[in-house]
């Protein structure tokens, strides 16, 4: 197992490196430097500023310094737009928030999704199954940016039950809507995949054997059916994670939760390249790390994978 993990890590590291290098060079090809404004700075001033940020160095040297700073000190450099803030400050301020509601949403989506899918499969062709299939099918078309305004309209404007935004140190009232908005469409997809997979598993020979042995339904489901059912679900968790991490940007904007998404969009609108670069790398690193976790879980679930 350890060797397998090590081998996956060997793929993950170059992936991250490729991401950093691509993003870095894309930033360099952008027309206009970070300090180009409508009123051009005097050349001497511009040269001084560029020297301060090390932008007068050759490109490869800049890349090397950037990489070394990240690896040795986890330092993503300063923001070019806000003199008093570094990329690290922006991450430190927003990341805990994003992590909190993000992981809760992820847990909710997986657990509720799997539960719903299993339930629908067990009660195959009953009213419950039909309702679950219909609901999950339409819920797939409800991405976070559709759910968010609908939720605000219903729960804040009409019913007045929940605050329409803010964070307030993660009090539960402030968490409910972000979590629902972020998790709904992924929960629906997970439920659909679980249901289809479970139906297939329940028709297989080893389940028939278990039934013939006279095992009660609960034992069949928990001990025999669940593990193989989860395999396609686990391989969907990777894309779901990517979707949620991207969706968190919408949540941060729409619910003003104060996560890193706001910083990301602001940097994109202000052309604050260093912040964009740093946050893109952070998002990418999280994704790659999570894919690694998924691979390991999958290897544990699937006896056919040898490591």
């Amino acid at each position: 197992m350890l060797r397998y993990i090590a081998r996956r890590l060997l793929v993950a590291v170059p992936t991250l490196l490729v991401l950093i290098i691509i993003a870095f060079f894309l930033m360099q090809t952008a027309p206009g430097g970070p300090f180009t404004s409508e009123r051009p700075l005097p050349p001497q001033v511009l040269a001084n500023i560029e020297a301060r940020y090390g932008l007068d160095q050759p490109l490869l040297k800049q890349l090397w310094t950037y990489l070394v700073n990240i690896v040795t000190q986890l330092d993503f450099g300063p923001s070019y737009q806000y003199k008093d803030r570094s990329v690290n400050d922006i991450i430190a301020a927003g990341f805990p928030v994003t992590l909190t509601y993000g992981s809760i949403s992820f847990l909710v989506a997986s657990l509720v999704g799997i539960g719903l899918g299993v339930l629908a499969a067990i009660r195959h062709n009953t009213l419950l199954d039909y309702i679950a299939v219909g609901a999950t099918f339409s819920a797939q078309a409800l991405p976070n940016f559709v759910m968010a305004p609908i939720l605000i309209f219903v729960f804040t404007l009409q019913l007045g039950w929940l605050p329409g935004g803010g964070w307030n140190d993660g009090q539960w009232q402030y968490l409910v809507m972000p979590v629902i908005a972020l998790s709904t469409s992924y929960m629906a997809s997970i439920a659909r995949i679980t249901r289809a997979s479970m139906l297939e598993v329940m028709n297989s020979n080893f389940i028939r054997t278990a039934r013939a042995k006279g095992l009660p339904d609960s034992a069949i489901i928990w001990r025999h059916a669940l593990k193989p059912t989860l395999m396609p679900v686990v391989s969907y968790l990777g894309p779901a994670f990517v979707g949620m991490i991207t969706g968190s940007v919408i949540i941060d904007i729409y619910f003003s939760t104060g996560g890193i998404g706001r910083g990301y969009v602001n940097s994109a609108l202000n052309r604050d390249y260093s912040v964009m670069l740093g946050l893109t790398i952070l998002y990418g690193a999280l994704t790659i790390l999570f894919n690694l976790v998924v691979d390991v879980i999958y290897a544990w679930l699937d006896p056919k994978i040898r490591y």
């Binding site: 992936t15 894309l26 559709v146 991207t246 893109t280």
Partner: protein, 323 residues
């Protein structure tokens, strides 16, 4: 197929004593001889048409497209005109009404939402279709070449896909949109070049199972070059899978574009898309102008859900073993 028909006919004949019925069955048998073999496509088509939800979705989608074509002829305001009289008091006088010609009400800038919505639907559908086409072309060729050539090149090409697929693509598109100008073209390129990855994996898998068939060998023996074999013999046989995933790509592309436009990083004024309109509507619900969210959202959901149903129906029809 003929054999089985005849056999069941004979079985039944043994049970029937009435000569009239025997004659009738005999006639049917003669007719059965005439029935032509059904092609795979014909079969799939029948399966698709039997799926009521998919056919219904197809009709709904057709109506939406029709609406974007003939809708503008009924509009009393263009998408650029500003209704100055009603500006500044939208919550009271900007609501949808037949009398003043704003069927869907007014948008935040006092423009006619009916015309704007049609414009938005057009953009979204266009992005969906063009993005999917770009992704399908690149993905199919890449996957087919990789699977067909095999060996070390295949390994290298698929490793590259593995690496690219692990990068959160939305951020790459946004990066592209910020660095280059936010144009329609860049949006298509950005969405297209990240959409082909899954496609190439699926196509590669199919190609691997195709490339050792006899007809490929025959083409080889006939001295056909490898690229021609791919485009003439491999790709046509992949069409079923490609069509299914292409249909599923269209809503995915529309969702991606809407996401980016919702953030304000997508299409720019005076152009608009459903995502941009939803974003605008979502930003103003506090002022009680619900129609600004309602109409774009309605069309967005209708389009996405119909496309889902169509994709699902096509998958059932073309790729039955997948379920």
């Amino acid at each position: 197929m003929h054999g089985s028909t005849r056999k069941s006919g004979i079985d039944r004949m043994a049970l029937v004593s009435n000569t009239e019925q025997v004659d009738r069955i005999a006639e049917k048998l003669v007719e059965a001889e005439k029935i032509k073999g059904r092609s795979l496509w014909r079969d799939s088509m029948d399966r698709f048409l039997r799926n009521k939800a998919a056919v219904g979705a197809m009709i709904v989608l057709f109506l939406v497209v029709l609406f974007t074509i003939i809708g503008p002829y009924f509009a009393q305001w263009s998408n650029e005109e500003i209704d100055w009289d009603r500006m500044g008091n939208l919550a009271k006088v900007g609501a949808p009404s037949i009398e003043n010609g704003h069927y869907f009400g007014l948008d935040t800038n006092s423009r006619d939402l009916y015309a704007r919505t049609i414009q938005g639907i057009r953009t979204s559908l266009l992005v969906g279709v063009i993005g999917a086409v770009v992704a399908v072309v690149i993905g199919t060729l890449y996957g087919a070449v990789s699977g067909f050539v095999g060996g070390r090149i295949d390994n290298l090409m698929m490793r590259a896909v593995d690496i690219l697929i692990a990068i959160p693509y939305m951020f790459v598109i946004i990066l592209l949109m910020v660095i280059f100008e936010r144009s329609f073209f860049m949006l298509f390129v950005g969405i297209g070049i990240v959409g082909w990855l899954d496609m190439s994996r699926i196509v590669r898998g199919q190609t691997l199972s195709l490339k050792n068939r006899e007809f490929v060998e025959a083409a080889h023996a006939g001295g056909v070059g490898w690229f021609t074999i791919i485009t003439r013999h491999i790709v046509p046989n992949l069409l079923g899978v490609v069509v299914v995933y292409a249909t599923l790509l269209v809503p995915a592309m529309i969702l991606t574009e809407s996401f980016i436009s919702f953030l304000g990083l997508g299409v720019q004024e005076p152009n608009t898309s459903l995502g941009a309109l939803i974003s605008e509507g979502a930003g103003t619900i506090l002022y009680g102008t619900m129609w600004q969210l309602g109409f774009p959202l309605f069309f967005f959901l209708v389009i996405i859900i119909s496309l889902f149903f169509i994709g699902d129906g096509l998958r059932d029809a073309l790729d039955p073993k997948d379920r």
